[in-house]
Every structure is written in C-alpha cells, then in structure tokens.
Amino acid sequence: MTQPILSVKDLAVTFETPDGSVNAVKGVSFDVAPGECLGIVGESGSGKSQSALAAMQLLAKNGAATGAIEFAGHDMLAMPQKQLERIRGAKMSMIFQDPLTALTPQLTVGQQMREILEVHEGLRGAAADARCIEWLEKVRIPEAARRMRQYPHELSGGMRQRVMIAMAMLCAPELLLADEPTTALDVTVQAQVLELMDDLRRETNTGIALITHDMGVVARMCQRIIVMRKGEIVEAGEVDQIFYNPQHEYTKMLLASVPRIDQVDRGARPSIDPVAPQDPILKVDDLKVQFPIRMKGGLFGRTKMLRAVDGVSFDLRPGETLGVVGESGCGKSTLARGVLNLIPASHGSVAWLGQDISGWERGKMRGLRKDLQIVFQDPLASLNPRMTIGASIAEPLQLHRRDLSRAERTDKVREMLTNVGLDPNMINRYPHELSGGQNQRVGIARAIITEPKLVICDEAVSALDVSVQAQVIDLLIELQKKMGLTMMFISHDLSVVREVSHRIMVLYLGRVVEYADRDQIYSNATHPYTKALISAVPTPDPKIERAKTRTLLEGDLPSPLDTRAALRFMPSKLVDDPDADQYRPKMVEVAPNHVVAEHDPALGSAGLIAS
C-alpha cells in the first residue's frame, strides 16, 4: 500500500453532556490511501460520523478527541487554528448528509463557492467564476452560470448535493470525507451522485472516506471497509473479504439483514405465502387526488392543480400484499390516504368489499375504520407523546369494541404487545422512552388490534436501521400469515418491497408506469423508468456491482405542476407548453398480469406503443 493520506490511530471521542460523559468513539484506527475509497459502515450511534468530524477537527463544542490523526504527515489534533483553516476545504474537504440544511440559505450558490477560491487561492472575479462553473458542469448541473446566482432553496435536493460535491472538489483536495452523502436522496439521484464520486476518485486520485449505513453503496464504491458498532471497529478488511467471508457476528448479522433486490431467498427468515385466487376485497379504479397550489406572481397569485395521484387503478385479493414503489413526490403516500378516504378523491372510485366508499364523509367511514388501518413512517411522530403506548394501542378498541370492559381491553393490549414482540409490562411507557423500532412495533400493534382486513404500511420501515428493519419486516410477514392480513406496502426502497410483496406497482408523478407480479417486475422490467429504478439500487455484492452496466436517468425529478413532466418517457407526443393538456400514455398488457405504460425507446427499453 502507498503512503496513506489520512492515518487515524486510537481515536477516542468523548462528549460532555448534562447526563455525564458519553464515549462516542472508543479507540479507532484506520488509514485512507490516495485514490482509495474506504467505507466506514455502521448503524446510527456507531460513532462513524463523529470519527470523520474529529478528523476535520469539527466536533461539537462539548466534544473532545484523543489519539492521533495524521493528515499528509501533519498532526491534526495539535494543529493551530490558522493552519487547520488552510487545510480544510483545500486539501481535505467534507460532504454532509443533509443537503437541505448544509448550505447557507442567505447566500447564493456562487457566493458560497467563490469564497473558497478567494480564501485558499486568492482567486477572485471572472477567473473564480470560470472555475466554479467548470466544476458545476463537471457535476452535471445544467445551466451552471444561472445556478451561480440562485439561492439554495431554489435548487432540488439532488442538485444541492451536487453543489456540495462541486464545492468540496473546487481546490482539488487530497482527501474527501463523505458523511452519508446520498442518504437523503432518491435512488436514481443517488446512482448519479455515486457515479460522479467514483469518476472523480479515478480522475483526481483523491482518497475518499465514505460513511454510510447502506451495504449496497459500500459494495458499489469501496475498496476497503471498516465496520463500526458502538464506537468500536468490529471488523476491517478488503471489500470482498468482508462481503464473502465476514468474521464477526455483527458483520454477518448486518449482511443478513440487508434486503437484496437481486434475490428473494430470505434464508431462515419468514417469507410470504402465495395467494389463493379469490375475488378482490379492494378495487381502485382511476383514482385521482388533486391539490390546489398557490403560485407566486401577480398581486394575488394564481392557483394550479397539483395532480398528486393521477388516475391509478389496481385491485387487492385477500391475504395479498401490493408493493407500491416510487421516488419522493410520486404520490404514493397520497394514494394511501386517498384509498382510506383520509384525503378526498377528486375522481374515480374505491370499492371495498364491492361497495363504493369514495366520497364517504368521516362519520360514515367510521364504521369501516375497524377494517382499514394504516402504519406510518415516523414511529415517534405517529404516537401521541402525551399518551402511554397502552392508551394509544387501546384507542381503536375503545371505539370499535365497545362490548369490552376496561380490564378486557387491557388484557387484549398486553396480548398484542406480546404479539408484536414487546414486553407487556411496557404498557405504561411513553413513546419517548422507547427506541424507534419499538415505537414502530407499537404503531403496528395499534393498527392490527381491531383485527382489520387491510393494513396500509406507508414507508413503515424506512426510518429504521437495517437490523431493526429486518425484524419489523419479519413481524409483518408473520402477522400476515397468522391473521390473513391484506396489505399495501408503500416504500421508496425496491429491495424491501421485493421481500414483502406479491405484486408491485411502480408510480411516476402520480401515474402507474408498470404493474406486475413481483418477480416479473425485477426480472423483466419493461418501462425505462422501472429499469432505471432497479438499476439504480446498489446490490450488497461487490462482484455484481463491478459487473453491472448502469442505466442512469439524467437529471432530477421534474415538477409535477408542469404537465410536460408526465411525458418524460414519451417525448414523441409532447406539446411544449407547461400548461397544455398532454397526451395520456395508455396502459398495455404485455403479458398476463403485467401492465406497462406506453413509452418511447430509451435506456435499453425497446419502446412500447399501443396498437
């Protein structure tokens, strides 16, 4: 190995808090070589971010680092402030997780980029501008010169993250620390950003330390890996060695927990049963949900209709799980609320057990709520902080099972707590005393205590760490087997959806682009968007990742307010006017139970036109 650019030895990070000292990092050592990508993997609280911040000497005020951090032969821990400032941003730079809050909202992109050149290289004016624009173009930001004058809030999340990368690369650093650089992004944008970072590493020989919780990203990007847990390194080694021959129990568990998009075999863990052919219990036909959006401009502004769900049809048989996938803003959550009548639909019908329930008012729906339940994304936000978890779980019972006495209710709640894998003695706990995974179990308990027929899971496992995620998925599958639940499983994560769903529906800007049986979608995707989506998900298997040919979508998700956006995959029919009524691609049944929207040939898809 060549001389490392960053060498960390026995690093310990301690935070002084009102509740005493917390050891976030406990004696960690690792090296990063030039042109190498080191993956630092771990779940939340493993100390991986704090290690990187310590290397930059950017720890929070109450934090202190001990040990040795050598950057290009200089001791970072003993370095005076002035010298640190000369290194930061010039020779060693960092990309942060949340592109929404990581840029100063009051300064334009150009102002924030130029000042780096001014401080580190004394470069100003046109020369500085040219260099900034050059880099913005390198990270594939369209209309770079105009973006320079824009404020961060005017850019999309993916665009902002690319600005962050351009900023980090401006002075050609020797080391790039990337802290969960793609976690907040959609998969297709993540794929673009990862590709970009990989190219930069090759071209500039920059060393990268990539901090992530996503084993797929690691397999895609890294040559070497360290696995961290609770502030310690549990395993370190070459990427193939870790993936194909893990030694430590935790690494094995981590790898086993990761849902894989390329296979359905869950090993010893529970998997879904096939569904018996029966009449559907839920039939949704041409459902549309629209919101009026006030646009800026003029004295009073004007209103445009945002078509969040734009004509979606599907049905569900008893005991079946429908996976709904799509990127942020595709209307999947709105679809869930439209089906449950939590948001009024503007068009179409929802038939529950043969009865059209669309447009029912709250009072009329109340009787049906016993059978229709929902589990939300954020486990903590979906529980009332002022109620014990027992009271939260009991609330639906109170409404729908008036025949039960107080004691019987409590018994049922305790029983349910056991069913979802919680200690029944926790009945009087408050949500803030529980972990995210435990709270999500409470949310599930509340949803199934009335023994509903349909449960909608809206990103129910997205906020959880992989190992916890795997447990909650196991729980859902087991409950389905035991209680014969019918489910709608909504997620942006295609790998998770594959594990739990019988059928899968892909949404793009409120419309279905492809709808088929699970294996059909993954092995035989037809629509270019589905292809791009599946190709974008990194597989936690380095060999597959290296061999993969990538189908990359260009640019970001367009605004759903622009009617042209819906025809992104069928430009041949496009009318170039953002307010025009556009052609509506028809749904074509390419095989039994496999429906695809019309599209032009693109991204390795042959194109499809209804005859």
Binding site: R366, S382, L399, H400, Y430, H432, E433
Partner: protein, 306 residues
Amino acid sequence: MFGTRHAETLTDAPLEAVKGRSLWQDARGRFLRNKAAVTGLIVLIAMTLFALFGGLLAKYEPDFVDFSLMGANAFRGVPSFETGHYFGVDQDGRDLYARVVQGTGISLLVGVVGAFVAVFVGTLYGAVSGYIGGRTDQIMMRIVDILLSIPFMFVLILMLVIFGRSLLMLFIGIGLISWLNMARIARGQTLTIKNKEFVEAAIASGVPTFTIILRHIVPNLAGIVVVYATLLVPEIILFESFVSYLGLGVQEPNTSLGALINLGARQMNNGTLWMLLFPLAFFLTTLFAFFFVGDGLRDALDPKDR
C-alpha cells in the same frame, strides 16, 4: 446533531434501566432542578399571601388619612414600627403599608384575570383557526394582524378617557389586546400538531373530531399555553402599571403598584424616597418572580434539545 445520536445510544441500553415517567413528571423534575424558577415560585406564593392577608397586619385602613402627620410627612411619616406605619405614609398621610398591600393585590388581580381572559380567548381563537384552516384561517389571522398593528395603548387611553376610568374598563381594554399574541401562538402550535402523524392515525382509526381535539390536540397545546400564560401575567401587570403611572388607570381610592410608583416618583424631590422605593421593590420582585417561573416552565415543558 449530537443530541439525537446520544438519545439513540441511550435507547440501546437494556429497557429495564429506564424508569417509566410521564412528560409532566419529567417537566416537574426539570422545573424543580431550576433554582431560579423555584425561588420565583416561592416568592410568588409569598406575594399572593401578602396581598391576601397582609392587610391583617396593617394598623390602618388604606383610605384612612392620618391628619396628625399633615404637612410633616417628610420627617414624621417615615417608615417606623412605633407609629405602625411600617412603610411610612404617602403624600396624603395614608398608611403606605396598607396601600402597598392593596396595590399588590390589584396588580396581581389585573395580571391574572387579564392573562386568563387572554389565554381563554386566544387559545380558542387560535385553535379553531388552526384546526379549520383554509380560507377561514386566513381571514381570522388577517384580523389579528390588523388589530396588532393598531397602537393599542393609545386606543386604550382614548377608551378610558371616553368611558371613564374603572377597573372594568381596564380589564376590557387589556383583554381586548392581550389575546392577540396568544391566538397566534396557539394557532401555530395547532398547525404543527394537526399535521403530526398521530392525529392522522387517530382519524384513520375513526376517532371523532371532537375527541381528537380533546385527547390529541389540547393536551399537546397545554404546555405552550401554560408557559405563555405565565409570561403574559407580568406583561399585563406592566401594561396596567404603565397606564396607572400616567394617572389614567386605577382610580382612587383604589390603587395599584404602577399608581403608587407614579405618586412616589412625584414626591422624589421632597426627600420622601420610601414612597417610591417600597412600591418599586414589590413591583420588581413580582416581575422577576414571574419571569423566572415563566422561563423555568418554558425550559421544563418545551425543551428543544430533546
């Protein structure tokens, strides 16, 4: 940033270690650990007792004029235990101790009643506006905006001049103004709570609207309302004192701390400083106590770092 990380590491610990506590218990613990707030609370209790029962210790009625001191206030009306005028007498020969008891009572009364009215009206208005939303919300809040940009102190004085000065008029005037900010706060908080997933979960379970407001919205509103109510009391006391200081507030023979400060300040040149300093001391102590209790409650109920 580090706060959440820390919370996560803690939850990894075995659950038996965490003792079951409610948010209110947590808040009480945090409040009791705040020495300034607890001192403030004790002072407030003492102040209330003083206003209620302090009169029993007075040797004179508040409106009794001690003619024996007439014209010789500066040296015969000085604070003294012998004459029974613990705080001395005022410029008219009335017992200042009895007057301060009376003034403290009126000031506290105005503050508490005013805050109560404001909290009641403001919370209701704000919660309704926030929960209904849409155009109703916009109109209701625009009205608040318009009212807020009217110079109310001037309008209040205009009202007091026109309808005559009385405690009732003062209550009406203060009540009219002070609910505005409360309404804004309550609305903002309602909006946040309304969009929380637990409210949606309740709707999805079929919980009736009224039960949702009572069980899910109001308890979560309570914290912030209590905090602002505590901070509103001293604000209203200040407000009343301001008007009384101008001689436009409480009418003789009634008095308030603001009116007493005014009278005392006018006598400053005559060497009877006690007339200013006693009411001033009570006034400042009350204000400080309320501020500390309010701040303590805010830190206890609304901790950002959790």
